[in-house]
Symmetry: C2
């Protein structure tokens, strides 16, 4: 006998059985609905792209360690998309002179990265990408933050469950200038600040003093800023530092919009990607068992530069389905999914064709009324077994049409939840 093949999916990928698909659709539908409520239009690109566009745009780790790339049968180097941004940049560039601005776009797509599978991370994941282009002011950043809040509220999340941490690259630059840091120091400081909550205070300070060569005064100033940024933000604003003025205005707008209970200004939010140039933000899960960012984004000033001579500013965010599902499960925000097919029409066990004809007739009528209807198709199955199947699958109504019902022109409807049944004319 031939060796049987393994039934497991490829490592790090997921099978979506109907019960998993319910969750996926629940997530996608809320994403779509909220994006549409802000006037964002859906787009998608191909799953394979020329390798070049990732080499030019994505970070080194992504390209060298995580990208699925190969040579096609026509000797072109191609890659499976690990993120949406390069495709988005290509598509916007292609029609840069035709698209009325602002451009508001979102997509829900799957991506692959060769990573070690672990909680919250798989090799295949889906991601919502939401971006607005062509608005320079922080009003666009506010819109993205507001949309992020509505996405979370759409899932039933409250301010106890998550917070949106915001910061600004421009402000950070202002602050580093005041701190008199050099470029090579800045890189190290950014890394240390990004890891700050994951290491001890001693380790953090050692990193800054030994690796980044900060003196005691600089160290104290940095610590003060992270722990209580508002006095220094005020000071920088007085000095008319543009990053500080913008952040102050954004914080004011967040208050005016009634969003301050969801948003926290946090100077230690760095975001890894190089292309951010202004406001950055992430959604943080507040569950102590699950401390982690579940979405992130920011403003970038030059998305399309590698395709086009034009400059186009944008701001946007991305949210992955795996971390989000963990969030929803931890906070018990996933609903119980019901069978969205309500009716099972049984088939009276008999070789007489009239029973099957009746089953088909009744199902056609119900479908014409817009109902979802499943029918039993096997002529040899006892009614009891058909009802057990209905019970297992969660059908709400079972319709029985026997000799009696056919003679009288009726059908018997069993209500599976209330355990009642009635005979009605049909």
């Amino acid at each position: 006998m031939a060796q049987k093949l393994n039934t497991q999916p490829y490592k790090g990928s997921r099978d979506f059985y109907p019960e998993d698909m319910n969750i996926r659709n629940f997530i996608f539908e809320n994403w779509k609905e909220v994006c549409k409520s802000y006037g964002y239009e859906e787009y998608d690109g191909p799953f394979l792209e020329s390798f070049d566009i990732f080499a030019a745009k994505s970070g080194d780790e992504l390209v060298n360690e995580q990208l699925y790339s190969f040579t096609d049968r026509g000797d072109r180097k191609v890659a499976i998309r690990p993120e949406m941004t390069p495709t988005l940049a290509r598509m916007v560039s292609q029609k840069i002179n035709e698209l009325p601005r602002p451009i508001r776009w979102f997509s829900i797509a799957n991506f692959w990265r060769y990573e070690k599978p672990q909680r919250g991370r798989g090799r295949e994941f889906f991601q919502l990408n939401t971006d607005i282009f062509g608005v320079e002011g922080i009003e666009a950043d506010l819109e993205i933050i507001s949309l992020m809040v509505d996405v979370m509220k759409g899932f039933g999340a409250t301010e106890k469950m998550f917070e949106i941490r915001i910061n600004s690259r421009r402000l950070t630059d202002n602050f580093y200038k005041k701190l008199e840091l050099k470029d090579d120091q800045i890189k190290i400081v950014n890394k240390a600040v990004d890891k700050r909550t994951k290491i001890s205070k001693e380790e953090f300070e050692k990193w800054l003093s030994e690796d980044a060569k900060l003196d005691n005064k600089q160290l104290k100033y940095l610590n003060d800023y992270i722990e209580n940024p508002y006095p220094i933000l005020e000071e920088l604003t007085q000095e008319k530092s543009i990053g500080a003025v913008e952040m102050k205005n954004l914080i004011d707008l967040i208050k005016t919009s009634g969003l301050e209970k969801y948003v926290k200004f946090d100077p230690s939010t760095i975001r890894g990607l190089d292309y951010y140039t202004g406001t950055v933000f992430e959604i943080y899960d507040l569950n102590p068992d699950n401390i982690r960012a579940i979405a992130g984004g920011g403003r970038y000033d030059d998305l399309v530069g590698m395709f086009s001579d034009e400059k186009l500013t944008g701001t946007g965010f991305a949210m992955g389905d795996i971390t989000l599902q963990d969030f929803l499960e931890t906070w018990k925000l996933l609903p119980d999914f019901e069978n969205d097919c309500e009716y099972l029409i049984t088939l009276w066990p008999s070789q007489d064709p009239k029973f099957f004809e009746k089953t088909i007739q009744v199902s056609n009528i119900l479908r014409d009324q817009g109902k979802n209807v499943s029918t039993w198709l096997d002529k040899d199955t006892k009614i009891e077994k058909q009802i057990r199947y209905a019970d297992k699958k969660g059908f709400k109504f079972v319709i029985i049409i026997g000799e009696d019902e056919i003679n009288k022109g009726t059908v018997t409807i069993k209500n599976m939840l209330e355990k009642t049944q009635e005979e009605i004319r049909f």
Copy 2:
């Protein structure tokens, strides 16, 4: 200045701009709705699978010439799915003892094949796959045919635009036995019959007599059968050939179900794939400019054999988005898509923050009412330009809030279709 990258998508793939996405969503939503109306549940598998499952299950042409396969960073041979069936078989096998039967499943997924791009064919396409498992009788075949008709009717297609051609592998075997054909002849005859409408009568007969070595009597009998199959079907039924009896019963059921105007019994419908064992069917476009199958399927008796010792029979069909879109375009069945965001709230050009605050307030109220609302975010744009944008994007209503409106507690609503406007309290 650096060389700019190409903005075109990878050869044979498509970018889905919002206007393309409207069409894609229109197609997907009808697919979903009809499948759900028959009680089918949605599933999906990963985009990459182990190479082995395609090598074992897909046809030679697919594996040797069209499959996108490569070795991953962990030295596993993987492939991008070119079709759903192997994944479906793997997933069903994995839970074969848990899934209540019948199993009714559908999926809408993207696939890749390395093909020469041409009309109706790209390298990346989407496909609906709909299957029912665990019902041996032709009642399941009837259900799939009925579902296919409802999919076409769901798009607004009528019996003038398409027909469903049905045939049966078992019946064909019965007929070939009567014709006393040997296995090597059968292969050639199948190929010739499949290509029959694309070649001349002379070529067809030459193929059969010279390559398949059919004598004149056999040739005549075959031609008679293809051109008028009913007498021979009757004859075979009298002889109790199982394939003929099944086909006759299926034709009767199609009549009973009121589907005969859409369905044609056609002995020349062969379907390429080896795994079909019973009824086969395809949807055929009746437009003379577009003569082509737009969907196909059939019954297979052993889907899960390569994963499991159990036998599980199934019947199902697949329909691709590219050929379907051609069909819908040729027959003018695609609707005009409207902007599903109805409101644009303008921003009065001023540095005074009260205008932006008001814009945000009004948009929040409308969104809370379930409306889709876009807002203008730039403080320096003249109202006329904002209205031109609204016009270009197809917003139905534009809301204007100037100094006057703020003082009076009103907003001005412009109806863009009827070119009217009114001021209302808000």
